[in-house]
């Protein structure tokens, strides 16, 4: 059981890293881009870069703010 946990923890750390919010925001950004493009007919090429910049900024802010 411990080995399975360690294996899972390794891949989580490898792919997701220190802040899962970044991964969640990127996945949400991709989903929203797909909806805008395929359902609303908007060529939303600008959305994912904006989401990536926002995710990075938010993650940096969280990492550098004093813990409450």
């Amino acid at each position: 059981m411990n080995r399975i946990k360690a294996f899972g923890a390794f891949w989580y750390d490898f792919v997701i890293g220190d802040d899962w919010h970044v991964a969640a925001l990127i996945v949400a950004g991709l989903g929203l881009t797909a909806i805008l493009t395929h359902v609303a007919g908007v060529n939303a090429w600008w959305l994912l870069p904006l989401v990536a910049f926002a995710a990075l900024g938010w993650s940096l802010l969280r990492a550098t703010s004093p813990r409450k």
Partner: protein, 256 residues
């Protein structure tokens, strides 16, 4: 798209990982025993080659659009992790990765570990240290080679970039016989983070269905914009830190 950006990106990314693997291999070889160290290294390289040989061609059979969506998402997440660490290091919120201190830590641990023969290997500690070091650092190389290569339908070019980096770092390591402390590793990681984030965002959005203005030429704008925004975050955090007073630098040294 020209194969040169692909080869250069993979080269720099793989050079960073190879430098970290070299530090571990040198610590195991010099402190313990070269034969067992080389055995561990060789087994790890065989495992990495097998993963690349199996996953690389298999991924090439997948349809390009969903492949770009998944791989773009993974690359963007991976790249933002690298960028986050690089910005935190550049602003002093995270300790800089230092090959000299990483080497000293490995040497200290290797000197105190007991010697044990196992499964035909004369020094099991040296074997496992080299095996784990090369495998873990190498997995990131394999990930970058496969994702970049598959997206560009040019795994061969990605392998050339990775192999060139490994050869250059290995030859330099043999000549210097010490960890490569003079290499600007932290700035290389910053550059890799920018490239991974840019390519990941580009391919991910394409996979989600968008058409980039100018097609592939959009990358020529996206890469500098990601670099500028990241530099802006460094400037912002430095200014904020100066305004509130410098916090104590964290003692942790992360491995990647």
């Amino acid at each position: 798209m020209n194969a040169l950006p692909l080869i250069l990106t993979v080269f720099v990314a793989c050079a960073v990982e190879a430098i970290e693997a070299l530090t571990i291999v040198l610590a195991a070889g010099i402190t313990r025993e070269w034969k067992s160290t080389f055995q561990g290294m060789a087994v790890a390289l065989v495992v990495l080659a097998a993963i690349t040989a199996v996953v690389g061609p298999a991924i090439a059979y997948l349809p390009l659009t969903p492949l770009r969506l998944v791989i773009g998402a993974l690359l963007a997440i991976f790249g933002l992790q690298w960028l986050r660490k690089a910005v935190l290091r550049a602003t002093g919120y995270k300790a800089l990765h230092d090959e000299a201190s990483a080497y000293l830590r490995e040497v200290t641990a290797a000197e105190t570990a007991a010697r044990e023969s196992k499964r035909g290997v004369s020094d099991w500690y040296a074997f496992t240290l080299a095996f784990k070091g090369v495998l873990l650092e190498g997995l990131e190389v394999v990930f970058i080679v496969i994702t970049f290569g598959a997206n560009q339908k040019n795994i061969g070019a990605a392998v050339i970039g990775a192999a060139a980096a490994i050869v250059v770092v290995t030859i330099t390591g043999i000549v210097v016989r010490a960890p490569l402390t003079k290499v600007p590793e932290n700035w290389m990681k910053f550059a890799v983070g920018i490239m991974l984030t840019s390519f990941g965002t580009f391919w991910g959005a394409e996979g989600a269905g968008v058409a980039w203005p100018g097609n592939d030429a959009a990358l020529l704008v996206l890469v500098p914009v990601v670099a500028l925004v990241s530099a802006g975050y460094v400037f912002w955090l430095r200014s904020r830190k100066a305004a509130v007073g410098a916090p104590a630098r964290q003692a942790e040294v992360v491995s990647s």
